[in-house]
């Protein structure tokens, strides 16, 4: 619990209603979207502006109290679980769109702004903000920035990092810094903007962001291709890119996902298929039509069993259903759904899926795989039950091997969900001892007393996945 004098100081800054240390508030901020992790914070606070964040940080740093920035708590890496207690700082009250600059095509927003609300707002102004994590109707811009979220459009349009051009942030000691700005070019010193993007709340609290906007695509077209041979699907992905076509979306569902989705949504999918590719291209009408024709030819040359190209918006919606239902279908099968995030070079997708299947069979666990084939970002998803300790241990062992396999195929342990608690033990595998040392030095420069989201990114022990068993 917070010491009474600290609570008083926080109340003096934020007001009585915005400092909560009752059980109800603590319990409801002890978790995020990550299965099975839970730990109670000492208090929950709701700042309203940058000044308040700054003053709060001064108090907390003087008292060496951990502080965990929180958007909507949808992250899947344990990023907002207060493992060492401390204060959860909820950003929801800082949710304004401060400016949309039509001349510079930029927007300034507060971190607690809902991503979907933002994209809808700019769409109405005839502009486009491409990052589209599947959780966008819930997640916040601040959370997206802190996790460097990506989505279905990552292949062609990039991820959150490609759209954040300026930040305002509060350091651990309460200092307010501004990085970047409305400039499209800026090389004055180290790029602190990019450093803060993806820093998972461990370097600073983001209080404002300047985002780049682009003109929306004029036209789009969707198609679905089904393969009896997984390698055919994987070769299609490589060949499309080789032919210098970059689809807006290029998604894959593996056989086990196809079975689950079909059982759930009754789509009449052929169950013997090893993979389905969902492809969407956008841009000018002529180039889209040309690309779709070339992609169709590539699909044929790779022995796709069935190819459907949507002729209307409704038809496109229907084709998208399979991909959209994937998560829902998987989530319904077993009580606990662990959605992971292994990424490989796209030429290695087939190898990775085959590896995942082998590892799942070896450990006798059910793992379905789908994801962003175009950027090699796969989501092997384990279907299990948190109450079955034995099975959970097997799932963990399987994931450990899956990450190992990803790295040995030239990949990484996370493509978009971040390291947090869950991937921390594996980080050293990926970046090596020296990599960790540099990162720790940076962390120390920003946060010498380690109060910003402690227990994340860097693990005490490497190579062991930490899971707090809860009955």
């Amino acid at each position: 619990m917070l010491k009474p004098e600290v609570k008083c100081e926080l109340i003096a800054i934020l007001g009585e209603s915005y400092v909560k240390d009752d059980m109800q508030s603590r319990v409801t901020h002890s978790y995020d979207g990550t299965p099975m992790l839970q730990s109670l914070p000492d208090a929950v606070i709701y700042p309203y502006n940058t000044q308040q964040v700054s003053e709060v940080m001064k108090v907390l740093s003087r008292q060496r109290i951990p502080v965990i920035g929180r958007g909507s708590g949808t992250n899947l890496c344990g990023g907002t679980v207060p493992v060492l207690g401390g204060v959860v700082m909820v950003m929801h009250r800082m949710n304004q769109i401060l400016e949309v600059d039509m001349e510079n095509l930029t927007a300034s927003v507060q971190p607690g702004l809902n991503t979907k609300q933002f994209t809808t707002h700019v769409e109405q102004l005839g502009l486009f903000y491409p990052p589209d994590p599947s959780s966008m109707s819930i997640s916040t811009i601040g959370g997206n920035i802190a996790e460097c979220s990506g989505g279905l459009r990552g292949l062609k349009y990039g991820t959150t990092k490609d759209y954040v051009i300026g930040l305002e942030a509060v350091l651990a000691n309460g200092d307010i810094i501004r990085t970047g700005g409305k400039l499209m070019k800026d090389v004055a010193g180290y790029d602190l903007t990019k450093l803060l993007v993806g820093s998972e709340g461990t370097l600073a609290i983001i209080t404002e962001a300047t985002l780049k906007l682009v003109p929306p695509p004029k036209y789009k077209k969707t198609m679905l291709a089904m393969y009896k041979d997984l390698n055919g699907a994987a070769r299609t992905v490589s060949k499309i890119i080789e032919n210098r076509i970059i689809p807006a979306t290029l998604e894959i569902l593996d056989n086990s996902t196809i079975r689950v989705v079909d059982a759930f949504a009754n789509l009449g999918l052929p169950l013997q298929m090893e993979a389905i590719l969902l492809i969407e291209q956008d841009g000018e009408i002529e180039s889209v039509e040309r690309d779709i024709a070339s992609i169709t030819a590539i699909c044929h040359s790779e022995q796709a069993e069935q190819i459907s190209v949507a002729e209307s918006a409704e038809e496109a919606e229907r084709l998208l259903t399979a991909r959209r239902s994937a998560f829902t279908a998987l989530a319904r099968l077993r009580p606990t759904t662990i959605l992971e995030d292994a990424t490989v070079p796209r030429s290695k997708i087939a190898d990775m899926i085959i590896e995942i299947n082998r590892i799942a069979a070896k450990h006798q666990v059910q793992i379905c795989t789908f994801g962003h084939a175009g950027d090699g970002n796969l989501h092997p998803t384990a279907l299990t039950d948190a109450r079955n300790t034995d099975e959970i241990h097997r799932v963990e062992a399987a994931f450990e091997e899956i990450f190992e396999a990803a790295i040995s195929l030239g990949g990484t342990i996370t493509g978009e969900h971040g390291v947090g608690m869950v991937k921390a033990p594996f980080l050293e595998w990926k970046i090596g001892r020296s990599g960790i040392e540099v990162m720790k030095a940076i962390k120390h420069a920003f946060d010498p007393f380690n109060i910003l989201n402690p227990g994340k990114v860097f693990a005490k022990e490497s190579r062991k996945r930490v899971v707090i068993d809860r009955g």
Binding site: Q24, G33, S135, T336
Partner: protein
């Protein structure tokens, strides 16, 4: 209460919650947060505890022994509207409605937070009046006497109404005039189909519905027979039990369910039609309500499979209704407020809209956030007036923006709340809240010739 007796109360409440709360459903929640944007109380407050994910976490924390079911916990369970918008939004299909009922059921036995009058009102309503259709009628008669005898005028003039809390006063103002007789008393039990018969259906007449909106029941029969259904109205039927179930009086709800099931079973019908989303949703879940009752569960299943909303039945199976092109109906603009239980539990949102679009000379405009709860939610208006009022205010902003002359709904509770909203926001004279059935009936061909 002293410290020890409070401890005893908390302990036994904890025990009861542990027993009642469904561990599987609690584990099924994977905390993805997909339900957050759907939840009206979360939209109003932005506080995690006021969200479905938060409430489930609280229930789980109590079950896991991390937290005591203190007063704040109880209040949070009561803050939930029970609108169940979180259910269709949930990828994992967590049965939130069941969880909240289990929590409330346990709390109801132990609570000390209700003010005396809430308990009294509930007790009288649930144990004495609603279980018995005759008594509901009798209460209706009392209300009618109040409305027509000059007592109402007197009460309003003398300021006697001031004795009641503000929100109750406001509700009293909009209560429609009570019908002298219910649907059966007015038109009888059996109504043959016009033209070739498609199916035989039973009308669930509801309790409040049959007192405050008896005409709507009559109009429902007209629409159904016109569309080709033979309609029976089993006379002995009871209140559905929804208010009981939602306030934690599950046993009361079960006993009403058993009695309704045997009455409708005896009628041997193809469908059981409801015109009140709130009632229909509970009727549809009789199978769940009685799933542990070996003796009744098969019959409950029989019943639940046959329950359907009037709009859905008309759209799915009825003969196309013909609407007249009367001049005075031209250029009427209408909008629609979904009934939460119709939408989220009976999963019917398309059928009413299709029917409205079929009416000639009428322009249907979709209201922003039509799918969001209006804050009525059974007794919520009375027990949580602040939140209810806040939600209603937002709703009325969207209603006003449609510039419609008619605001249609599919449930008596929502209808009353919308009348109340129109009254409160000074929209009287500009727009009218009407049950969709009444609106369709008025425009159906051959009605008032």
């Amino acid at each position: 209460m002293d410290k020890t007796s409070e401890d005893v109360r908390l302990n036994s409440l904890t025990e009861k919650l542990r027993l009642r709360l469904d561990g599987d459903q609690l584990t099924n929640c994977m905390r993805c947060g997909f339900c957050l944007p759907a939840c009206p109380t979360f939209a109003e407050t932005g506080i995690e505890a006021e969200s479905p994910r938060g409430r489930i976490a609280l229930m789980k924390a109590v079950k896991d022994g991390i937290m005591a079911p203190d007063v704040a916990f109880e209040e949070q369970m009561n803050h939930c509207l029970g609108c169940r918008a979180c259910e269709p939004a949930c990828p994992a299909d967590v049965k939130y409605g069941q969880l909240i009922e289990q929590a409330r059921d346990a709390i109801e036995d132990h609570t000390k937070t209700h003010r005396g009058w809430v308990k009294l009102v509930r007790h009288t309503a649930f144990q004495t009046i609603f279980p018995n259709q005759k008594r509901v009628r009798w209460m209706g008669k009392g209300l009618r006497f109040y409305q027509t005898s000059g007592m109402r005028t007197l009460a309003r003039k003398t300021g006697a109404m001031k004795m009641f809390p503000k929100h109750m006063r406001e509700m009293e103002e909009i209560l429609p005039d009570v019908a002298v007789q219910g649907v059966v008393e007015q038109i009888g039990i059996l109504h043959p189909a016009k033209g070739e018969k498609i199916a035989t259906v039973a009308l669930f007449r509801g309790c409040l519905m049959d007192v405050l909106f008896a005409d709507t029941n009559i109009h429902t029969v007209d629409l159904l027979t016109e569309a080709g259904f033979e309609v029976v109205i089993p006379e002995q039927q009871n209140c559905c039990g929804a208010m009981h179930a939602h306030s934690g009086e599950i046993e009361g709800a079960r006993s009403l369910a058993r009695s309704n099931i045997s009455i409708f079973k005896a009628a041997g019908v193809d469908y059981i039609v409801s015109n009140a989303g709130g009632c229909g949703a509970l009727l549809l879940e009789y199978d769940h309500l009685l799933h542990e009752d070996e003796q009744w569960k098969d019959d409950a299943m029989w019943f639940a499979e046959r329950v359907i909303d009037v709009s859905d039945l008309l759209v799915r199976m009825g003969r196309l209704l013909v609407f007249s092109e009367r001049e005075e109906n031209q250029c009427v603009r209408i909008t629609y407020q979904d009934s939460c239980h119709l939408r989220n539990v009976m999963r019917s949102s398309d059928a009413p809209r299709r029917l409205m679009r079929q009416v000639t000379g009428v322009e249907f405009v979709e209201m922003k956030e039509a799918e969001r709860c209006c804050g009525s939610a059974g007794t919520y208006t009375l027990t949580q007036p602040v939140m209810s009022g806040q939600i209603l205010d937002h709703k009325m902003e969207h209603v006003r923006a449609t510039d419609a002359q008619y605001l249609l709904t599919s449930n008596p509770g929502c209808l009353l709340q919308m009348m109340h909203g129109i009254n409160q926001h000074g929209l009287n004279g500009q727009m009218k809240a009407v049950h969709i059935v009444d609106f369709l009936h008025e425009r159906m061909c051959g009605q008032d010739e």
